[in-house]
Amino acid sequence: MDHKQITYAVEANNLVKTFGKERAVDGISLNVPKGIVYGFLGPNGAGKTTTIRMLATLLQPSEGHAKVMGYDLVQEADSVRQSISLTGQFASVDEELSGRENLIFIGRLVGFSKKDAKTRADELLKAFKLEDAAKRQVKKYSGGMRRRIDIAASIVTSPDLLFLDEPTTGLDPRSRNQVWDIVRALVKNGTTVFLTTQYLEEADQLADLIGVIDQGKLIAEGTSKELKASIGAGSLTVHFDDVTELEKAKEIFEQQLNHFAEANLREISLTVPIKEHAKAAKAIGELANNDVQIKDFSMSQPSLDEVFLTLTGKLPESEGDELHEQS
């Protein structure tokens, strides 16, 4: 097929998707340069999956338009499908079949001959360390193996653009790292990856460009460095042996760091957000200068919660709240 000379893998212009009265995606515009990992970061129910489903031609946009790999999403849907692959959040392979059968099945559907489909399946099983499980039904796979076969099925032929919807949600750290390695290798080979995630760390590790989405709107976009700079370096937590020390420290912190320090009396600890690491060191030093006894201290990376807190002025809704609202 002809390859268009394009700069952007995705060019979305004011995409809207409404379900009844609800605006699940509420006017999203974004440009994803070719050859990068774009991380779509947001809490549950923010509109990540709906956006990906629109870009993968599974849902018709209610308003707005978009080009994927240079093709119009609606007018040239079939050409879009030729250029993309989608690994959904849930099973995107047939759980009743074995891993090998699934790959042969997809291979046949993208147009390989029986022989080529089998060769390709075995090649992928080997590459994804699934040879031993090749003949086992996918429903008997572990979470990490599931993810790998899902992704393998998406790259039976190399897509120009690969959509991964929450590829590591629910995975243990080792499996998560394996998925990350696969994503990095794919990008090195020229595939553009558009992934959604709830984890800042994941976006941080993988994405060249991050879009933060909340309530159907893109509320910030930038590199991980840029986003972090906008929300500070994280937070400092200090533990004490008794409450009097904590109270002395609270006063010093709030003066030094110019921010409310949250006290946890049960754990006898203080937590305060930090703009720069140097300031945290200085604040700790100031405690020593004032003879405040501390038990230990730790710095934490900025969390998604903090990104949200900073960007939207409120905490993201948890899954529980969402379920509650729907019922």
Binding site: L58, L86, G88, L97, R108, V110, F128
Partner: protein
């Protein structure tokens, strides 16, 4: 570079997409998948093996004496009817399977592939036709053992079953449409039953419609299942049923045109 790394690099280096498969090739790939699934879950064949046996024994011995005076005579009359009823009933599993694919998420992958879209359904339906054939064979064989004798011989039976399979394929498009738009398996099951029960019972499956009250006869006379039963009965017993046969062909084509189109519309626009 280790052996594995090499395999990995090799596997992910750009693989060109081959030419998109033909409609037939895509449909047969989906048929292959359906066959594999039967191999893993043979219980799926329960409905086409056990249902026909239970239905035939139950209705023949329950109603035979009362309706025809003897079970032997009733069997000749009722077997073509129960055959139609059983196969019509098991067509609804097509919709249930599709509904499960959607719920699990694998349907999304099918929809994001550049293939001839009806292939997903045509492939599954052609394997279902094999299932209907199994059900028909089992029922007719059991009937033969019990004393059923088709007056038009083996040829008539083959023609009757062929017509029934064509009608069942057409009827399945109602279930594929419902399978896509109805949200849960339970609701789909209930809805399918609601349609199938009146259609199959209020027909000429069990009794001659002339014994029914006038108002009911009116419904039975326009019920598509009645046409199918009369056509199949005619073919099996060699009576003149050309009017019914033509009617079944028209109805089947109509079902495909209407519900096939609606199915593909909802397939494309599934939210």
């Amino acid at each position: 570079m280790s052996n594995h790394e090499e395999a990995f690099e090799n596997a992910i280096t750009v693989k060109k997409r081959p030419k998109k498969p033909s409609a037939l090739s895509a449909a047969s790939t989906f048929a292959w998948r359906a066959l594999l699934r039967i191999r893993y879950v043979p219980e799926q064949l329960f409905d086409v093996t056990v249902f026909p046996i239970i239905f035939l024994l139950m209705f023949t011995y329950l109603f035979g004496g009362a309706i025809s005076g003897s079970t032997g005579e009733y069997l000749d009359f009722v077997l073509p009817g129960i055959l139609v009823m059983t196969v019509a009933m098991i067509t609804m599993y097509t919709g249930l399977d599709l509904n499960k694919d959607i719920e699990k998420g694998v349907f999304d992958r099918f929809r994001s592939l550049p293939i001839w879209r009806p292939a997903v359904l045509v492939g599954a339906l052609s394997v279902d036709a094999v299932r209907y054939l199994i059900a028909s064979t089992i029922m007719i064989t059991l009937g033969y053992i019990l004393g059923f004798r088709p007056e038009a011989g083996f040829g008539g039976v083959v023609l009757g079953v062929a017509l029934l399979l064509f009608f069942s394929f057409s009827l399945s498009w109602i279930w594929t449409m419902l399978g896509i738009i109805v949200r849960t398996e339970k609701a789909l099951m209930a809805m399918s039953m609601m349609i199938l029960f009146p259609l199959t019972f209020l027909s000429s499956v069990f009794v001659d419609p002339t014994t029914m009250p006038n108002w009911l006869q009116k419904f039975v006379d326009i019920n598509p299942i009645t046409f199918v039963v009369d056509a199949v009965r005619g073919l099996i017993h060699g009576t003149d049923a050309i009017g019914d046969i033509m009617m079944v062909i028209y109805i089947s084509i109509g079902l495909i045109l209407v519900f096939g189109t609606l199915t593909m519309y909802f397939f494309k626009n599934k939210e």
